[in-house]
């Protein structure tokens, strides 16, 4: 078994209202110096050894992310 992480982020040109709301809240909470926040999703998959990178990419592109509005990155990590 291997652990695979898939990070999904809104594309830079797509408005991210949730990230903006977080960014706007930080100064109110007394945290200064944060100029931008983008909010995305982080998936952790436990994957059998025979699942290849092409399959993982297909999972990310067709299901975990919507490529119209989101970018995705797949990486294998130490379990």
């Amino acid at each position: 078994m291997a652990r695979v992480v898939v990070d999904v982020m809104p594309k830079p040109e797509i408005l991210d209202p949730q990230g903006q709301a977080v960014a706007n809240a930080l100064p109110r909470l007394g945290f200064d110096g944060i100029t931008s926040v983008r909010q995305g999703k982080h998936f952790e998959l436990e994957v059998a050894d025979d699942v290849d990178d092409a399959t993982l990419a297909k999972i990310a592109e067709t299901f975990l992310a919507n490529p119209v509005i989101e970018d995705w990155v797949v990486r294998r990590v130490e379990a």
């Binding site: 408005l15 919507n66 509005i69």
Partner: protein, 223 residues
């Protein structure tokens, strides 16, 4: 004519969609998300709600439901399909319509009666309207911001595929004030506002939404 209305786990507006079909003189046929069966319907409505709890992304899981695979195949052969609200999100996720819907720009769930301008009255679902007519129907959604890249927007605008546009202040940050769009063949239409809630002045703000269902009955009778 038989009009299928799909129910997913979490669908809310299937009953009103069925009622709208009956008001327009059609026969409403219940379709179940887990069935590979369209029950010989002439058209399909994908209604609003929160299919599969909106988990992952709105419409992302519903898109893979067995019944949706049948809908995609039928739509490619020209069957009229209407997606309302969550149904619009599902049709985008299923690539029957371009673009995607994201969180409203001000993060609030918007629930109000909304004026729309009819920009295209040549689709299977809008022929009863005058071009440029303004209609008042409910809008109730938290993720109704229509997004697409510039080339897709240019294509939609250039081909007249924007069907409805918000009148007045943009309620959700949709690009180009887009409330609804259609496929290249004008058979598949998706919109965030709810025409099925505005078919009788007794129970809605107007009966302006009924025209969509009457248009469908016309188009199928002609075909």
């Amino acid at each position: 004519m038989r009009v299928g209305v799909i129910t997913f786990p979490g669908t809310l507006d299937d009953v009103d969609a069925e009622r709208a079909v009956r008001y327009a003189g059609g026969e409403a046929v219940k379709l179940w998300h887990a069935d590979h069966d369209l029950k010989d319907v002439d058209a399909v409505i994908v209604p609003g709600g929160f299919s599969y709890g909106d988990y992952l992304r709105c419409g992302a899981i519903a898109r893979f439901a067995p019944v949706m695979q049948e809908v995609v195949d039928a739509a490619k052969k020209g069957m009229p399909v209407l997606g309302i609200c969550n149904g619009f999100q599902i049709l985008c996720e299923a690539h029957l319509l371009p673009g995607a819907l994201i969180r409203n720009h001000k993060l609030h769930f918007v629930c109000r009666d909304q004026w729309l301008k009819v920009e295209n009255n040549s689709t299977a679902w809008t022929s009863r309207y005058d071009q440029g007519a303004e209609i008042l129907v409910p809008l109730k959604s938290g993720e109704g911001g229509y997004q697409a890249d510039r080339s897709t927007l240019d294509e939609l605008e250039g081909e007249g595929r924007v069907v409805f546009r918000y009148v007045g202040e943009n309620p959700n940050g949709s690009r180009n004030d887009i409330a609804g769009i259609t496929s290249a063949n004008g058979r598949v239409v998706g919109l965030m506002p709810h025409p099925e809630h505005a078919i009788d002045a007794l129970t809605g703000p107007t009966d302006d939404g009924l025209g969509m269902f009457l248009s469908l009955v016309d188009s199928v009778v002609k075909a």
